[in-house]
């Protein structure tokens, strides 16, 4: 491995900005770190360069552990967004800087400089000052300067950020060509997905300091595992669909055929499906669709963008419209569609035209957290609960919706619960939780008043049967809050030493499963004592802590954990319930 990061964590004022990131970049690979601003990608790049120290983890370059090696001894080349050229030096002096520092002879320096200037197509610029060059030329000088000392790794921090579109593309081509020619391992940081697609061999997507997914550009686009990657890499319509025995249903209409292995559990559940704008088929009537019908719609807006036509379509079928997640998760539900010019010519549209919509290809995200349902005794209280800061930030980050449900008096036989039920914390919480779990809810979030977004999430399950589901839910949750994950294993006190080996092994299994199956890096801690006491003690060690608790026995919620849920001021607790005989859900991709 050319670059290997192992559980790298960097905190600023106790807030993790890079959170347990592990990456391996192969020899000669062009790796693009993609993420919105503030996702920690630049900090990670600076950590690789050695300009930022890390709080936890290890960094190695070509098999050499450089975690504690200074930047100047790491042998990397770094290119900055604002070029960072030395303005008082000529181009020649800039490029020769690294060679001069190393005491190379003048003749050798000159030869190397000529070589580099040729590489970036700037021959004859030697005696100019940086101020006399255009932005694109300056950045090429910066690339040449970063390569002068023949580094093994080239790092580029948003190198095109300060340039206009035309020059950006030209420089992009130059950098790709130089990288191919030298075969140098390269990491580029950007927030521009188009840039990432154009340059990358491998893309790693970051958000909230976490590395969400790593993969080849096409795979990430076609089969994202998280809703963030789905919406950040290109445009995406997110739908709440139901996974049933007959396949996936969107509202009342089946979208895919039956026969998927995902229904092993035998229970219906809600899933999040990704429908790319170009995968929506438009026809004037349902019968003319070649793909699966999803809904009827009315054209609202048509934007001509050159090669493509972009449409915004309002769904006319009310129950279906309610299942469509808007770009921010709430508000208006509109379907984004793009059509090519030939498609447009076949069926010209105008705003207001009613059309039938079909899905050519639907990708179901493997996330177990689809939507939220705020439950309280009255609708008004439920609405108030939905405005809790934690729930609000979760639903916004997850681009999903928060439904409202009045469950006054805990009457029997309610409508099925979809998604995560949210209830207010307090003395009655455990009763409500038990009732919800008995009536079909699989996950319940207990929210104390004004609970902040957590900085640390503890994960614990009472029974190994709940492990898979709890880890899946935790991983999904932790993609949407910037918190560190800690698995808390608890061994009853008074057991002989030999009997502790089993929990220890479970702990390590849990960690490798989290890492391997969900890309979730979590720390592990082992406590000795009584479960509820130990959970309470650990949750009390700091502010802004949260618990994900996996259980297999409904009565536990009402009895054993009563004090935990009733604590004042309390902590957010996400209860994941799986009956012991029900295997965890897995929702594979479904293609129509």
């Amino acid at each position: 491995m050319s670059i290997a990061l192992d559980q790298v964590t960097k905190r600023y004022q106790d807030q993790p900005v890079v959170n347990d990131v592990s990456i391996e970049v192969g020899e000669g690979e062009f790796f693009v770190l993609l993420g919105p601003s503030g996702s920690g990608k630049s900090t990670l790049l600076r950590a690789i360069a050695g300009l930022t120290g890390i709080d936890h983890g290890r960094i190695s370059l070509h098999g050499r552990d450089v975690t504690h090696v200074r930047a100047r001894d790491r042998g990397v080349g770094l290119v900055f967004q604002n070029y960072a050229l030395f303005r008082h030096m000529t181009i020649a002096d800039n490029i020769e800087f690294a060679l001069r520092v190393r005491g190379m002879k003048a003749a050798d320096r000159r030869a190397r400089r000529k070589e580099l200037l040729q590489l970036v197509a700037l021959e004859g610029m030697d005696e100019r000052l940086p101020g006399q060059l255009s932005g694109g030329q300056q950045q090429r000088v910066a690339v040449a300067r970063a390569l002068a000392h023949k580094p093994k790794v080239l790092l580029l921090d948003e190198p095109f950020g300060a340039l206009d579109a035309k020059i950006r593309e030209e420089l992009r081509r130059t950098i790709r060509a130089v990288q191919r020619e030298l075969g140098i391992t390269t990491v580029l940081v950007t927030h521009d997905q188009e840039e990432a697609f154009a340059l990358a061999d491998i893309i790693g997507v970051m958000n909230h300091g976490r590395l969400l997914e790593v993969g080849q550009p096409h795979d990430l686009y076609a089969q994202p595992a998280t809703r963030f990657v789905a919406t950040f890499l290109g445009a995406a319509n997110l739908l709440l669909a139901r996974q049933t025995l007959d396949g996936i249903r969107f509202g009342a209409t089946p979208v895919t055929s039956a026969g998927s292995a995902s229904m092993a559990g035998g229970r219906e559940h809600e899933v999040v499906a990704v429908l790319r704008p170009e995968e929506v088929e438009i026809a004037s009537a349902r019968e003319q669709l070649t793909s699966n019908y999803i809904a009827k719609g009315a054209v609202e807006e048509i934007v001509f963008t050159g090669a493509l036509e972009r449409l915004r379509v309002k769904l006319l079928d009310e129950p279906c419209a309610a299942q469509l997640l808007g770009p921010s998760g709430t508000g208006e539900a509109r379907l984004e569609i793009t059509r090519t010019q030939p498609e447009r010519r076949l069926l010209p549209l105008r705003p207001g035209t009613e059309i039938a919509l079909g899905a050519r290809r639907l990708h179901v995200l493997p996330t177990p957290l689809s939507s939220f349902l705020a439950c309280a005794s009255t609708e008004a209280e439920a609405a108030q609960l939905a405005r809790e800061p934690l729930l609000e930030s979760l639903s916004t980050n997850m681009k999903t919706r928060v439904g409202l449900r009045a469950i006054d008096g805990l009457q029997d036989s309610p409508a099925p619960f979809a998604g995560v039920a949210a209830v207010a914390g307090g003395p009655e919480a455990s009763t409500t939780v038990e009732w919800l779990l008995r009536h079909g809810a699989n996950e319940v979030l207990v929210l104390p008043k004004h609970a902040p977004s957590p900085a640390r999430v503890y994960i614990h399950w009472t029974d190994e049967a709940a492990r898979r589901a709890t880890l899946a839910v935790s991983a999904s949750l932790l993609r949407h809050v910037s918190a560190e994950a800690v698995y808390l294993g608890i061994v009853p006190a008074g057991r002989p030493g030999a009997a502790r080996a089993a929990p220890m092994r479970q702990l390590l299994d849990a960690r490798s499963e989290a890492q391997h199956d969900h890309g979730l890096e979590m720390r592990t801690e082992l406590a000795i004592g009584e479960t509820v006491t130990e959970l309470t003690r650990n949750l009390s060690t700091g502010t802004a802590q949260m618990l994900v608790l996996g259980i297999t026995d409904i009565t536990q919620a009402g009895t054993a954990y009563r004090s935990l849920l009733a604590a004042q001021p309390g902590w957010p607790v996400l209860i994941v319930y799986r009956p012991p005989d029900q295997p965890a859900r897995a929702a594979p991709e479904a293609a129509a």
Binding site: L51, A71, R72, N82, A84, F86, H88, V101, G131, H149
Partner: protein
């Protein structure tokens, strides 16, 4: 008429402001200076030369400009250090230190002169320890330099501070990844980048020091040929009602100051041309 069209300006009142600028320059700067030169021109040439080349006068020039140059040089080094500390580090009391830097601006110079004399006199707080070591500060050229350093310090700090704040951290980071050590980065990247500001600060401190009178006369001891600065000599001439002689000395100070400031400014222009930013 065609030629009369003027590009409308965002801020009106060019005529008025230019008028004021000219008036201000004439009334406050040029007129008094011309009067000075005229007064000196009133004497006959041989007498003029005699006054300005008298050994006492020459000794005072050397002291005035030498001490001012030395003080400005000291300020350049330590003012840079202070500016560096204030811009690069955050520590408790930083704001207070930042405010204290301006004190010499506000303090009447006579007060600082008296204060320095108290401290550096042979029996003063610091002077009593320096005396046994054979270092005399008060009533020597050293004392003059100390006084001039004190009053010139804020000029350097205040001009270098913004320039240092503007040095991009990226430049240092870039140099570091290229293999440069800290001292190398400082010498080859930071100092050249803030050099123009440093020179401006030096110029201001120097100009202020040359003209300084109040604080120096208390600590200088004012012995002719030894610790007598030119401004003091001018005052002495005035007290003797030798107006022409005073004016002659004034003219010399004016000429030397002008030449030196011009030289420093040219140096800066040359430096700035090298740093011109064009995108």
């Amino acid at each position: 008429m065609k030629g009369d069209y003027r590009e409308p300006n965002v801020l009106p009142g060019f005529g008025i402001t230019l008028g004021f600028t000219t008036f201000f320059l004439c009334a406050i700067v040029l007129l008094p200076l011309s009067a000075l030169v005229l007064k000196a021109a009133g004497m006959d040439f041989a007498r003029f030369i005699e006054v300005i080349t008298s050994p006492r006068a020459v000794a005072s020039y050397r002291l005035s400009f030498g001490a001012a140059m030395l003080a400005a040089g000291v300020n350049m080094v330590f003012g840079f250090a202070i500016a560096w500390t204030l811009t690069r580090y955050d520590f408790p009391g930083r704001k207070i230190i930042d405010a204290i830097i301006d004190m010499p601006f506000a303090l009447p110079t006579a007060v600082s002169g008296i204060a320095l004399t108290t401290v550096f006199a042979a029996n003063g707080w610091i002077g009593q320890y320096l005396e046994p070591m054979g270092i005399k500060v008060a009533y020597t050229w050293l004392g003059i330099t100390v006084a001039l350093t004190l009053i010139g310090m804020p000029f350097v700090v205040r001009t270098v501070q913004p320039a240092l704040a503007e040095v991009q951290r990226d430049l240092e980071d870039a140099a570091e990844t290229l293999g440069a050590g800290r001292f190398y980065v400082f010498r080859r990247i930071i100092v050249p980048t803030v050099m123009p500001a440093l020179l401006t600060g030096f110029t201001l401190a120097f100009a202020r020091a040359v003209g300084e009178y109040g604080s120096v006369i208390f600590i200088a001891g004012n012995m002719p040929m030894k610790t007598e600065i030119t401004p003091l000599l001018i005052v002495i001439r005035l007290e003797e009602f030798d107006y022409a002689g005073a004016a002659a000395l004034g003219c010399v100070m004016l000429a030397i100051s002008f030449v030196m400031l011009l030289a420093i400014n040219l140096l800066q222009v040359w430096g700035r041309q090298r740093m011109t930013v064009r995108r």
